[in-house]
Amino acid sequence: MTSAQIIQLLQSAIQFGTVIMFGAIGEILTEKSGNLNLGVPGIMYLGGIAGLAASFFYEFNNPDPNKLICLLLSFLAAFLASALGGLVYSFLTITLRANQNVTGLTLTIFGGGVANFFGGGLNTMAGGVGQISVATTSAVYRANINNLTNLGTVGSLFFSYGFMVYLAIIAAVVMHFFLNRTRKGLNLRAVGENPATADAAGINVTRYKYLATCIGAGISGLGGLYYTMDYIKGTWANDGTIESLGWLAVALVIFATWRSVNAIWGSYLFGLLFWVYLVIPNLGRKDIELYKMLPYLVTIAVLIFISLRKKQENQPPASLGLAYFREER
């Protein structure tokens, strides 16, 4: 095991972790309002494809694309499309009181369908050949300052990533501050713990649930955007990776015990476990498949551990998964 290998492993872990960190931070916000949204994979799909499609049409119609517009277009499209997915979920579960788990799973099927349909077909539909590719936008997302700093190992470990890696960390910290230190954040948590009490205290339960779910979905969708733009370099792959990453994001919420700052190291740990086979010598292809099981096994272990300890502060929001109907008490 050389130091170059270790650096490569850590870099892979951080990039992998960033995808699921966005997913988990958004889902933490959503779950704090009492909505268990199992549509995270679908939402990440929507974010990924919307960002890709927006910059694709821009680059396709402009031979000399402006980098800033590339960035803004794809970022906004990803956030809005994912938030729209959250809105569908919110309307069905909050207003129409449909079952949250079933609605979430449907959103996952729908989002995966939309993304893979357009991801596979956009280029042909627009009259192009072969795979979709947005080189310019992807370059903006992957731009880093490692070449400027000349710091060697430190540089490649800390400065070799696109801006979204740092954005994820900032988002996690801001989310933590919001949920624990602001009035709105505390109100939101009250909604998730006991909506009837929150309602009696004059908090608009429906509005909080809607906003938390839609904004949460928007943030989760950024994970998909990071995946398409940075992780696989501005292309599309119909291989279902986003779906498995989306489920890992849901698992990460539990792993982080609903605290967004824990999601930072948790996500990197998941990444490390996923890529650890890179540094283990003499692995056959089939052994690699077994090693890829690790993040899931660790999540199961954590689930069991949390349920065994039963610590008050590690529990999910009390009304998670339940619809609220004022007249039903």
Partner: protein
């Protein structure tokens, strides 16, 4: 309450829970929802393909039932989905969120493929089929009982546990695919026993998939009777409605949880056996292909009535086959079927609201629908 309300303006729309609804009316609402969803899907199809939606639906019908071969593929896939839905029904009726059908199907499939590969020829096919069926039942059972045990004793969250078990099963499948690769370098197992057909479902009445239909229909009827008329089925209903009531009534909740998930997992494992021995004759990570998730929706929408599940399974598979047909006919890819499935499910889920609640306009009569 009315005197207080006089001071403020009544909201434009009010919602009240229905006390009950006549069955035909409930089905009318559901049918309206499906029709609306077909209109929305039609608009989507038109926007993408610029084709007459009616023509497209015609093409879909052709794709699902156009030839007798296509009809049989539709029937075979509907049976597969139904089988998983039947397996999930007892778990969901107990409010145990078994999201792990994918994994349970895969482990059943792996065991079946393994036996087919190594014992095809040395054991006669009928005996081998029985062994494979039993082993796949056991494998699925184990995969279901693990999360159930933790749920029963330590209240471990079963939604995420079963979900993670899916990925463990997927990785084991990838491992087996790499292990049994044929031909080397293809990264697939290939069709097992292609020449000899050892361990394949035999043709009955000249059809290769008759046994699939017989098996799944037996399960469907059996599960209906089990849930509705057996003591265990009643225990499942009570635990699902209220764990505390169940405890008070002297039901051993732990035992019921584990037993029900053993049954649920075993039937999903058997679905893996049917998928491998009765349909694809190979194993890959897409053997389950998301059907474990779709089947949850089948079971939920049917309210665990296994006969209603037949209808919903056929509807969903029809859509899938139809969308694949459109895809190849109009040069699109077949993920369109997932979009249409999603739209239809959104509408059906939303329609449940109008079955359970009444929307009252401002000034509307309170006594309505009592």
């Amino acid at each position: 309450m009315n005197t207080v309300m006089q001071h403020t303006k009544d909201p434009l729309l009010r919602i009240a829970k229905r006390d009950g609804i006549a069955r035909p009316w409930a089905y009318t609402i559901r049918i309206i929802a499906v029709l609306l969803s077909l209109v929305v899907s039609g608009v989507f199809i038109f926007a993408v393909t610029k084709l007459n939606p009616l023509q497209v639906y015609e093409a879909m019908f052709d794709g699902a039932f156009g030839t007798s071969r296509r009809s049989w593929v539709t029937i075979r896939d509907a049976m597969m989905l139904l089988c998983i839905g039947v397996g999930l029904a007892p778990a969901f009726k107990m409010k145990f969120w078994n999201i792990g059908a994918e994994g349970q199907i895969l482990v059943g499939g792996i065991v079946t493929a393994g036996f087919m590969r190594f014992f095809g020829g040395s054991i006669s096919t009928p005996a081998l089929l029985v062994i494979m069926a039993v082993m796949s039942l056991l494998a699925g059972c184990v995969w279901g009982v693990i999360p159930a045990t933790f749920k029963a004793f330590w209240n471990t969250n079963e939604t995420l546990f079963t979900l993670m078990m899916n990925y463990v099963a997927i990785q084991i499948t990838s491992y087996c695919v790499a292990l049994w690769e044929n031909p080397v370098g293809s990264n697939t197992v290939g069709v097992i026993n292609q020449q000899t057909k050892y361990g394949w479902f035999p043709s009955i009445f000249g059809q290769a998939n008759t046994l699939n239909v017989i098996l799944v229909m037996l399960l469907t009827v059996g599960m209906f009777l089990y849930l509705k008329y057996s003591k265990q089925g009643y225990e499942i209903t009570v635990v699902g409605d209220s764990v505390n009531t169940a405890r008070y009534a002297g039901i051993n909740v732990k035992k019921v949880t584990i037993r029900t998930m053993a049954i649920s997992g075993a039937i999903c494992g058997l679905a893996g056996f049917i998928a491998v021995a009765g349909a694809s004759h190979t194993i890959s990570t897409s053997t389950a292909g998301g059907r474990g998730f779709t089947a949850i929706i089948v079971a939920w929408l049917a309210q665990f009535n296994t006969f209603v599940m037949i209808l919903i399974s056929f509807l969903l598979v029809f859509l899938q086959k139809g969308a694949i047909q459109i895809a190849s006919q109009f040069n699109l890819n077949d993920y369109a079927s997932n979009i249409i499935t999603g739209i239809i499910l959104f509408f059906i889920l939303g329609s449940e609201f109008f079955i359970n609640y009444r929307v009252i306009l401002r000034g509307g009569k309170e006594a309505d629908g009592k």
